[in-house]
Symmetry: C2
Subunit: 471 residues, 2 copies
């Protein structure tokens, strides 16, 4: 046992430090795509134990990899020879302050626990995605997670007012502000959010809560084109006062594969369509949510009217509005099955890209053409958070040739970049996209990031080898 | 003439470089509170000239102070012996892309010019405040300016998608993203926004536009208490689907002083009230804005109904809803006369503080009590962006004793901090609040800021002596 592990056990107590086979859950990511051998796993009980761990690690130059729910997709928690610093025991929801609409939580709080705590007060914490039952807020903050309702509520950084961060030296930086305005120096909160644990370890946060919608109107819509779908989005935003909570694109190929994976699932429409949109509107005003004498919910009627008008005008090909919670759940289940549907086929080429909203049609068309030029029989099942300009490219190549796979991956990235896009919309960099980062990001920006990393973590102990490409 | 000034003239052309008496408009702030003697004034025509200026300044260790509209309140543009780098010639609005709802502008673009360009497309750039006719967007970004409708649209940082920044070395960092999601490394955009020109010079930006409200409902409301006013705010937000654009508090003392300064102005109500709120709702849905057969505008009727119900319940003491644009303009003029009303009295104690929303009542009560304990005859006229938890303390002391003045200033800050607040809500630090920064901000945060400053500007040429307290 190394000196630092002995020291950690002596100072923190043996039950806070795992070694040997106990480390196995902390030795791989959930996709089983990355594997590593930690030096030890530390599960601190409080911020002081996080600080002590970082202080000793910094003094000895030992790498530390913060690990939260370990639901990331880019290998950002891999830690060969590192202390895995798991925040799982710091999972308290310290306080919900409904009148101020904030939640004060520890970094290890599980997303769905935060949801439940907010809902007990008639409020929501809007951040949500498939892994909400195991993802922890510290990881969501460190990766600036997105999800399914960014179009209304923003990404994780937009939902965070304050942070507590332990710096690599072990110093605790208190930024636990509940303020909506605070111009007192550089915005260190936004610097820490999305830094993937390379600049500090987030130990607590102040989160913004929102009123829980009183009613939802949810529909599947078949559109003639993505551009037409965006016309629908703009109209819905205008007519509802920007109450669109989700606007999710699924191609016909995805619908088909979903029914193959879940044979009991129903098709969204009688006929198959290429462009399927799941739209959800959340009504927060009583006038939109209170049932009329005939039982109609106004926001549902409003959505039906708009879709009917657009259908008459030929701008919508088909539409089905959920008439009850079960139908709504079916629509969401279809969208959230992405990870399971993707597993139907190996190999699979996945990418998470973003372009400006008005470039989405061009993106989808170009990706289709370029991928088919490289592999004429590829199946493309990319879903998209269409309202955010964020496409999750998913291609099932017809060949095992790795050269074709990487040519397709590069073509996806080239296309996004040529349209003014990003090679990482919401998943971050981790290990997986360091090469893209090195080639695609402004060299001046990378140099500035490196300078900041060195300034805050001079010994380079925090999550080394992640996010920043090697010099 | 120093070598660098000769060099600047030789390289940039004499018309880009001012010296001697021509520098006088660049030698003081607009309040005439700060005065300085620049080395020279440089007015670059493009980003390349900004880059060249910074490169030479960095090589020679010459301080550079970026100056935009010079409408700040904290002395952040003072520059004794510095090159004043004025962005005024880089004022182009390069492009409005209505379908993507973005504006691409140079840093010297005047705020009201951006407003006009957006409105030509039926859109708005929401950032607005009194100095909009001379403030330039580069300065608004560098100070993360707030203003009167942050409650709906957020501060400047929330309205910016991308930036072009010239670093102290003269390198140009291209972050001109139009994306709503981009998790590719540290968020350098948020680091540069609000950095008061100490880390880089913003030369261009991608701004978010929003749909122009189709109708406004604007009212003056007299509330029994600030807590009751916040109940009204929450009800209006819920009933209108969060369409409140402004929720501005003015005490009875302010109303009285306003009528003294503008004798032609009418009182908002027949009787005087202590707690006066100007509320504005912006309707973006046609159903809320399209006049009914009797000419009524639905959003106006909605506001009238809510106010009438709250009046009946004793939760509102009086209310007047603007019936036409002239009445609305009168309400806004009253609120925007703050700077002129404040000039009625010398001396004046001013502060810009924020607290969590649910602490506003306590803040106002405590400030009143503490200021009166120090000066029983003080007049307090603080207005507030109530919906943001942001109070602009304004006190007219009855004594000229500077010890009393500074005791009151400290009491204001102590009170805000004790309530979990900030000593700078929206005005920034500049020179004025460096002492507060040194005493009130987390020492770990200041140390992290210093490390970042040194990393990005090792020679310390950019806006030296601002924002960060001396070590």
């Amino acid at each position: 046992m190394t000196d630092i592990v002995s020291l950690l056990i002596a100072r923190l107590g043996a039950e806070q430090v795992l070694t040997g086979p106990d480390m196995s859950p902390y030795s791989r990511d959930w996709m089983d795509a990355y594997h590593w051998t930690p030096l030890a796993v530390v599960k601190p009980r409080d911020t002081a134990q996080v600080a002590a761990t970082l202080k000793w690690a910094n003094e000895t130059g030992t790498p530390v990899v913060p690990i939260s729910g370990n639901t990331g997709l880019t290998g950002a928690t891999s830690g060969d020879g590192a202390i895995m610093l798991s925040l799982e025991r710091m999972s308290a929801i310290r306080e919900i302050r409904p009148e101020a609409r904030v939640a004060i939580v520890e970094a290890g709080a599980i997303l769905s626990d935060i949801h439940a705590a907010a809902e007990a007060h008639g409020l929501i914490f809007p951040l949500t995605f498939g892994a909400r039952g195991s993802a922890r807020i510290g990881g969501a903050l460190s990766t600036n997670a997105g999800g399914s309702n960014v179009v209304r509520y923003g990404s994780t950084r937009d939902l965070c007012l304050g942070l507590e961060v332990v710096l690599p030296t072990g110093e605790v930086m208190d930024l636990m502000s509940e303020l909506h305005k605070d111009n007192s120096g550089y915005d260190l909160r936004h610097l820490m959010i999305g830094a993937e644990g390379t600049l500090g370890v987030i130990t607590a946060a102040v989160l913004k809560l929102a009123p829980k919608p009183l009613a939802y109107a949810t529909a599947m819509v078949a559109a003639p084109s993505i551009d037409q779908a965006l016309v629908l989005l703009n109209r819905l935003q205008a007519e509802t006062g920007r109450a669109v909570e989700a606007f999710e694109y699924m191609p016909g190929t995805y619908i088909k594969a979903h029914m193959k994976r879940f044979p009991e699932a129903r098709a969204p429409f009688d006929e198959a369509h290429d462009i399927n949109i799941m739209v959800e509107i959340g009504a927060i005003a009583a006038r939109d949510a209170t049932p009329l004498p005939d039982g109609t919910i106004p926001v549902v009627a409003q959505l039906e009217t708009i879709l009917a008008e657009m259908f008459e005008a030929g701008l919508v090909r088909d539409a089905v509005v959920a008439q009850n919670e079960a139908q709504r759940a079916e629509m969401w289940a279809r969208r959230e099955a992405v990870a399971e549907v993707a597993r139907l086929h190996t190999p699979s080429i996945d990418h998470d890209i973003a372009v400006p909203l008005d470039k989405m049609q061009t993106l989808v068309d170009t990706l289709d053409a370029r991928a088919r030029a490289l592999d004429p029989d590829i199946t493309i099942l990319s879903v998209a958070h269409l309202g955010d300009g964020n496409l999750h490219f998913n291609g099932w190549p017809s060949t095992d040739d790795p050269a074709v796979h990487s040519a397709i991956y590069e073509a996806v990235e080239d296309t996004a970049m040529a349209l003014g896009g990003s090679f990482s919309a919401e998943h971050g960099i981790g290990l997986m996209k360091k090469s893209s980062m090195a080639r695609r990001k402004s060299p001046e920006a990378i140099a500035a990031m490196r300078a900041i990393k060195t300034a805050l973590d001079p010994r380079g102990i925090l999550n080394p080898g992640k996010l920043l490409p090697e010099t």
